[in-house]
């Protein structure tokens, strides 16, 4: 009886501290390559873009936003690198050490195949997306999005 109670207590403590640790721990960064254009029958945006749809329309004026490449990265150490890519574009993201409560420092490079088109450094805050207007592609526009979820 006593052993069972002790086990139960231990389990509770594990759950509590595990939950607290998980709550304070890693965050996910979603990065996406998006083609914006005007079409007669626009498709609904992907779930990652739903809450940004109106903002994107206000800024860029297109009626359809289609994800052509994306990645979702869980930041554990804060010093990690990853890639979001489509058939012709790739976005290299390098998270630097020295992150603090105000956000993650990241280095980003947009490649069109092997050509470096754009490079920038940013401090990414939670639920405060960065939107980058890329090159014109056909009758649309390449956009790059980064969101700490």
């Amino acid at each position: 009886m006593q052993r069972r109670s002790a086990l139960l207590l231990g389990l509770w403590l594990t759950l509590i501290f595990g939950g607290v640790h998980a709550g304070n721990g890693a965050q996910t960064v979603w990065s996406g390559l998006v083609i914006a254009n005007n079409v007669s029958k626009p498709e609904p945006p992907s779930p990652e873009l739903t809450y940004l749809e109106e903002t994107l329309k206000d800024w860029f004026g297109y009626n359809q936003y289609k994800v052509i490449g994306q990645s979702r990265k869980v930041l554990v150490t804060g010093s990690e690198d990853w890639l979001a890519q489509s058939k012709y574009f790739s976005l290299h993201i390098d998270s630097k050490e020295g992150n603090d409560k105000t956000g993650y420092r990241v280095n980003l490079k947009l490649f069109q195949e092997s050509n470096l088109l754009l490079e920038w450094e940013a401090k990414l805050s939670k639920e405060r997306p960065i939107i980058v207007k890329g090159p014109q592609v056909g009758d649309g526009q390449l956009l790059l999005l980064l969101v700490v979820q």
Binding site: S5, K87, L116, K126
Partner: protein, 172 residues
């Protein structure tokens, strides 16, 4: 009403008198044997008094105190303090219930605190573009502008003059 043992002890000590004495001696099955036993007991008592005098205790108060404390601890309702003032461990069952209660209180307080501060989930700072550049060979006329929109809560890096690409580059 005295028991037989009490009457027997009193008879041995010559404390029964009158009617009690007569009734008790009448109840004995063998008065002669009882008288013999009484004499032996009195002899033994006299012998012990003579040869084993009661020693005076040097620390009588201490032992009396110990006895009183022991009796009090055995008769009193159990508390969290032991007889000697030392802490008595709670049983595991009670610890578990206290833990569960503490958890419930913690969960309740956390719920109310989180409900009162929902904005803490979002950063109060906008994301920032610290620096940016385009490849001057690939896009010699490109320009970069940065916007931070507090209204939309987004940061926008606006480029102009990047080399346009054909529509096939829009494929996944």
């Amino acid at each position: 009403m005295k028991t037989f043992e009490e009457k027997w002890t009193a008879w041995i000590d010559d404390e029964l008198t009158g009617r009690d004495l007569a009734e008790f001696e009448a109840s004995l099955p063998d008065l002669a044997a009882a008288e013999a036993e009484k004499r032996d007991a009195q002899k033994l008592g006299a012998f012990l008094k003579e040869h084993l005098p009661c020693r005076a205790m040097g620390n009588e108060e201490f032992f009396q105190h110990q006895l009183r404390e022991r009796i009090a601890s055995e008769t009193a309702v159990p508390t969290s303090q032991g007889a000697g003032g030392g802490r008595v461990w709670w049983p595991i069952g009670r610890l578990v219930w206290v833990g569960a209660t503490a958890l419930a209180i913690f969960a309740g307080v956390t719920f109310f605190v989180m409900r009162e501060n929902p904005a803490t989930d979002q950063s109060q700072y906008l994301s920032q573009i610290l620096n940016a550049r385009v490849d001057p060979v690939v896009s010699p006329n490109a320009t970069i502008t940065m916007f931070e929109s507090k209204e939309d809560k987004v940061t926008v890096l606006w480029t102009e003059g990047l080399r346009s690409l054909p529509s096939e580059y829009a494929s996944k």
